[in-house]
Amino acid sequence: MASKPMPMKARGPSKSEFKDKEKPAQIRNSNIVAAKAVSDAIKTSLGPRGMDKMIQDGKGEVTITNDGATILKQMKVLHPAAKMLVELSQAQDAEAGDGTTSVVILAGAMLETSQKLLVKGFHPATISDSLLHFASKAVEVLESMAIPVDLSDRSSLLKSANTSLNSKVVHEHSGMLAPMAVDAVLKIVDPAQDSNVDLKDIRIIKKLGETVEDSQLVDGIVFTQKTQGYGGPNKMEKAKIGLIQFCISPPKTDMDNTVLIRDYAAMDRVLREERQYILNITKKIKAAGCSVLLIQKSILRDAVSDLALHLLAKQKIMVVNDIEREDIEFVCKTLGCRPVASLDHFTPECMGSADLAEEIHAGGSKFVKITGVQNPGRTVSILLRGSNKQVLEEADRSLHDALCVIRCLVKKRFLIPGGGAPEAELSVKLTQYAHTLTGMDAYCFRAFAEAVEVIPAILAENAGLSPISTVTELRNRHARGETHAGVNVRKGSISNIIDENVLQPLLVSTSAITLSAECVRSILKIDDIVNVIR
């Protein structure tokens, strides 16, 4: 018994030594393969001629989309490295909103290059270092080719929104959605502090029915609820709008309460008092001059009882029920009113006023629209329409991307050409720069410079052009100094892409490069996958 383990012990360390050299390489390889598989999966959706993906989730719900972040989110990947790429695209979504596909493709290309370098015997740390160097140099090059833009330059903003929308399912409506996005963002930009915009101030309301073309930018607010109460007004001009947070229903205390009824007369009295109580409230509301009443949703009791609705309708007050508590702030900001939490505070000063509040019938549903708000806040609503749910959802995502693009321009007011031009320029400039370096760094640099050419190559491929001849021609043009030459997908050739009005914000490209470099570096540094119990 004692002698048996001895030879095992002698072999033990040598075996582990052997494994030590082999295992990290395998792990790294499997990480790279998994991550590349992810980027290959969404490759075909890049660019204006990119294809859409139809995704069916576990419940059988179907999503049709072209948006990289959405595809990846729905894919439910299992491999840990692949998961990091999914998060990468979400980070790009948060940071720039657009370019979620390109960032993953870039990361995939960088990983492929790293794999080749690893086979050649480069240490992962060396590759990682030079990748960081590469990313910072790339940002410099991108900044050097950027064109400054002013927020008052509407046509430039339109062009960049158009570029973003062109690759989406709803691109035929880009002529209408692009100005909508531009107007919406410009409306909420605060001139005093215009370095950032909060997109939560733009509310997108989706309503099934009609077509995308019937979508509209509403200068005011839209509620998806219909008006309550039978016989009440559906349209109110010169509306006085009150927003209440208390309930118009029989009183209820926070403690349990019971009403004891001993005889028939008492029963009658209770009914009468209840009616009197509600009538009293509605009268006070009317007395304050309110004509449109918005009521916050309540979970403790009915926000508004049938009796109250009836009485309010009689007094010609329009009622919109079930306003979520989270929305209160937005509603207040838009209408310039103040929420009222108790009846005593319900005064004319608390109310906002608007030119028109009306209920609109659209298809099978109704919604309430309030326009012409006096002293409005910096908010805006967009009403999206679509003939089916998929189109509507996709239109929403596309519009969000377009809004993000404009927001990027507010944050960082520079445009660069699209259509693969920046990537081609990067490749040429950085290859030149690599010649000035020495050692391992120079080698890695050149390899990565070649890797970024993947974007124009895939753009061309998706458009049915020959990727090799397109990329080589592009490289040639850029080497001759045509900084703005890019893949013109519509004409199927290489041309000055600025003439084609294909522009995108600088921030999208720079953040794509830096984020993907950061992600690739952290994947390269991994040498083991450990299963843990938690």
Partner: protein, 525 residues
């Protein structure tokens, strides 16, 4: 013995503890040093599939479930190291496992474990005195001391994900730790993680950031704020007796009672307003009605600040958490110069600047993925821990394998004067110490045998500041490269590793108690 109880004796027991401990050491050794690699931890069980990418020895070891008792001891020392000093969690495990690897050889040479232990103990003493002699103390000179702190922070960060931005983060850490003014209260440093941007976009905010929203219609910006921090229900003060109930005879009475409840709330708000405050922060929800009352009074009310947030807030604003409001003069109010909204990433937050506790600050981390953010937070935490330790124990030693070589030499020198078998154990101890620079070099992909022999030779010549420069893969003077570590961390690594090794060596019998019988559950179902 009872059935199912297991016993492993002498040789087998020792063997199984050696194998377990060495396996744990092998698992984490590749994460050591500036070019160490990371590991992906994939969770099984409850939150299956969630992943974590880390380089931190303590995090890796905490998460792997080990069965081997010796391995468990190593996991524990790494945990202790994390709690005590915060850094060196990998080194301590690697050193202990190398000590055991050497001990295994000695045992097979028929040395008695007690002899090995005696030798290890002597070696530890010599190593410690050598380390203490080499320690430098710059605490008298604030400029130099800050430089020292910068170097330590950079050394700690260089092995982590933040290595590429180490200059920046080192500055961040040193600034925030120096703000603490030696109190070492890491609670005052808040770390907020926000996805998006790159690590380079992270920043230090000299104030306190609260991830909450200001109530509707209330001032969004307040200067010279007087803050009341409270933990009180702001719905209705109802009687907290189970089953309390009101019986009335008419609806009008119910309405009256409702009104009375409201009045009570109003009374409470009035009481709170009597404190002459303009900011009210509550841990619990604030309902619509009190919110409006506060809005009418022009007071900023922030609801639902979580528990962690509220305690920290009380600390930094210098207030106390109030829950009764009858004696305004007794309640300590918090103050700060300015409260305003700010946007970080996509979210709006509330920033409190100019807080009286000048120590407080917030570090906002940005990064591409959640994994990066989590790892960055861990790295930052390590660096902050080490720095606070250094502020307390100001001595420093050189890193990069320099101190290990120094100690190894001292031990070998001493061994040559020791007659008897203990000398063998001491030499083994020195070899184990030298494994640390060897592994560092190996991980960086350099020729470790060459580098370590060069390193040893230069120490023999008396150049006691030489260490490994892993940027270029050469032996260089650590003073010039600026690789410095905290004396406290190094000493703790040495002592806990040798203690753990000794403990495992002493074992000659492992008894596993019989598992408790699981009986079929005959409860009603």
């Amino acid at each position: 013995m009872k059935a199912e109880a297991e016993e492993e004796r002498s040789e087998t027991a020792r063997l199984s503890s050696f194998v377990g401990a060495i396996a744990v050491g092998d698992l984490v050794r590749s994460t050591l040093g500036p070019r160490g690699m990371d590991k992906i931890l994939v969770a099984m069980g409850r939150n299956e599939g969630s992943i974590e990418v880390t380089n931190d020895g303590a995090t890796i070891l905490r998460n792997i479930g080990v069965d081997n008792p010796a391995a468990k001891i190593l996991v524990d020392i790494s945990k202790t190291q994390d709690d005590e000093v915060g850094d060196g969690t990998t080194s301590v495990v690697v050193l202990a496992s190398e000590l055991l690897r050497e001990a295994e050889k000695l045992v097979s040479m028929r040395l008695h474990p007690q002899t090995i232990i005696a030798g290890y103990r002597r070696a530890t003493d010599f190593a410690r005195s050598a380390l203490t002699d080499s320690a430098l103390d710059n605490s008298s000179d604030p400029v130099k001391f800050r430089e020292d702190l910068m170097k330590i922070a950079k050394t700690t960060l260089s092995s982590k994900i933040l290595s590429q931005h180490k200059e920046f983060f080192a500055n961040l850490c040193v600034d925030s730790v120096l703000r603490l003014k030696g109190s070492g209260n890491l609670d005052a440093i808040q770390i907020i993680k926000k996805q998006g941007g790159t690590l380079g976009d992270s920043f230090l905010d000299e104030g306190f950031i609260l991830e909450k929203k200001i109530g509707v219609n209330q001032p969004k910006r307040i200067e010279n704020a007087k803050i009341l921090v409270a933990n009180t229900p702001m719905d209705t003060d109802k009687i907290k007796v189970f089953g309390s109930k009101i019986s009335v005879e008419s609806t009008a009475k119910v309405a009256e009672l409702e009104l009375a409840e409201k009045e009570k709330m109003k009374g409470k708000v009035q009481k709170i307003l009597k404190h002459e405050i303009n900011v009210f922060i509550n841990r619990q929800l604030i309902y619509n009605y009190p919110e409006q009352l506060f809005a009418d009074a022009g007071v900023m009310a922030i609801e639902h600040a979580d528990f962690d947030g509220i305690e920290r807030l009380a600390l930094v604003t210098g207030s106390e958490i109030a829950s009764t409001f009858d004696n305004p003069e007794l309640v300590k109010l918090g103050r700060c110069d300015l409260i305003e909204e700010c946007i970080i990433g996509e979210d709006r937050m509330i920033r409190l600047s100019g807080v009286p506790l000048g120590e407080a600050c917030t570090i906002v981390l940005r990064g591409a993925t959640n994994q990066i953010l989590d790892e960055a937070e861990r790295s930052l935490h390590d660096a902050l821990c080490v720095l606070t330790q250094t502020v307390k124990e100001t001595r420093t030693v050189f890193g990069g394998g320099c101190s290990e070589t120094l100690m190894a030499r001292a031990v070998v020198d001493a061994a040559s004067h020791v007659p008897g078998k203990e000398a063998l154990a001491m030499e083994s101890f020195a070899r184990a110490l030298l494994m640390i620079p060897t592994i560092i070099a190996d991980n960086a992909g350099y020729d470790s045998a060459q580098l370590v022999s060069e390193l040893r030779a230069s120490h023999a010549e008396g150049k006691k500041t030489m260490g490994l420069n892993m940027e270029e893969g050469i032996v260089a003077c650590m003073n010039e490269v600026g690789i410095t570590e905290s004396f406290q961390v190094k000493r703790q690594v040495l002592l806990s590793a040798s203690e753990a090794a000794e403990m495992i060596l002493r074992v000659d019998d492992i008894i596993k108690a019989a598992p408790r019988k699981r009986t079929a559950d005959r409860g009603h179902c």
